[in-house]
Symmetry: C2
Subunit: 234 residues, 2 copies
């Protein structure tokens, strides 16, 4: 099949006991280790959140943080899509595309990828300490090591922010690696190149803000991301 | 706001007349040009599709193709998430992360990004010529120039495939570029680095399949993607 990324109605017993996330197709691509889920989530910068809005789903990108089995989202208190998520069943996905798989026949073209799909209730976090901890997780997820050297949120900023928690129990991971899976007849016919064109994300050199005063060096937490041995991002 | 990516309940008149996609926040980031939508969609490899399943949304990654105002999806006829989409209101999003925006205060950390959010009905395509044309668009979207040199889908493969069409009228685009938007007091306080750490996707060198016979060269359509002047991907 050209693309079975959508058959993500997975989940393996260690992650979820519910029938609605049981692996139904492409079983070989489902991963059963909790660590696989954490790895896919932790390597991502943005998730896609699906919320029911006016009777139909809407999918929007958003940043996130994770602590153990809990994923945190946040948004402005005025953000309609986040407000709609409160207390409702949502879904979110994180996908890394690692390459395009070129095959000898059109229907066997594919992607190499790692993806995680989560379903669960988005619970409004009201405890102020947990809210602040979640904001730290979210900022540190996007910019590891930055939180402690910048101004923390003040009361007004926190008041304008909603934080949502999603339990990661009902989740699935799929990973595809390696070359094409061509039909024997197409391989035997010969003459058509097949293989993988790898894709990766890389950081560029940091660009100081226009309003940055002279003499402020790029901090270590930023510099280390660009260091050659830390590439690629994912 | 640290993250306003979620306020994607946009859309601008040229793309959509419906109230449910009217821009409500972050107006400066909404784009009004149809070409902006096309550019974000065309630069993506994977979209995230949100489908209503058992009363709650589920978000899965999938590949796609576009022809004018129509986006095409496909899946195995046995794929539950795609089957659930048929004839229903779905949403899909494509997001490119272009960098992490480092600010002087935690709440102003952000991402530079380009994202498109589409809402609409997923219509099952039944005309065989349109189905085949859609498969070509999807393969060519993932691997431009490859279709004509590989074996086309046969009748059995097409019978096992469903193709869905989504109208792109109800869509929105948001783009964030540039440096942080710090508070004046934080800028005045000084001493904290702020700026952007750019992120981009790059192709690696093509890797021939294990079962590729000797002497089959990397085709031009693959080689051109890796050529230095065609990097980055997005």
């Amino acid at each position: 099949m050209l693309d079975d990324m959508t058959t993500h109605d997975i989940t393996r017993p260690p992650l979820s006991p519910t029938p609605r996330t049981t692996l139904t197709r492409s079983k070989e691509r489902g991963r059963t280790d909790r660590a696989d889920l954490d790895a896919v989530l932790d390597a991502g910068l943005v998730c896609h959140l699906g919320v029911l809005l006016g009777g139909a789903p809407v999918v929007v990108p958003t940043i996130y943080g994770r602590a153990g089995d809990t994923l945190y989202l946040h948004g402005s208190t005025g953000a309609g899509n986040m407000r709609a998520a409160i207390g409702t069943e949502i879904s979110l996905a994180v996908t890394h595309v690692d390459g395009v798989v070129y095959s000898r026949s059109a229907m066997h073209f594919s992607m190499n990828y790692r993806s995680a799909v989560v379903r669960g209730k988005a619970v409004l976090v009201t405890d102020e300490a947990e809210r602040l901890a979640a904001m730290r997780l979210i900022v540190e997820h996007a910019a590891p090591g930055a939180w402690d050297r910048v101004r923390p949120p003040n009361r007004k900023e926190m008041a304008a922010t909603m934080v949502l928690a999603v339990d990661l129990t009902e989740a699935s991971v799929k990973v595809r690696t390696g070359g094409p899976g061509d039909d024997a007849a197409d391989i035997a016919a010969g003459g058509v190149w097949a293989g993988v064109l790898p894709l990766r994300q890389v950081w560029g050199e940091p660009i100081g803000a226009d309003d940055l005063e002279p003499g402020v060096a790029v901090p270590d937490d930023v510099a280390v991301r660009v260091a050659p041995d830390t590439l690629p991002v994912s």
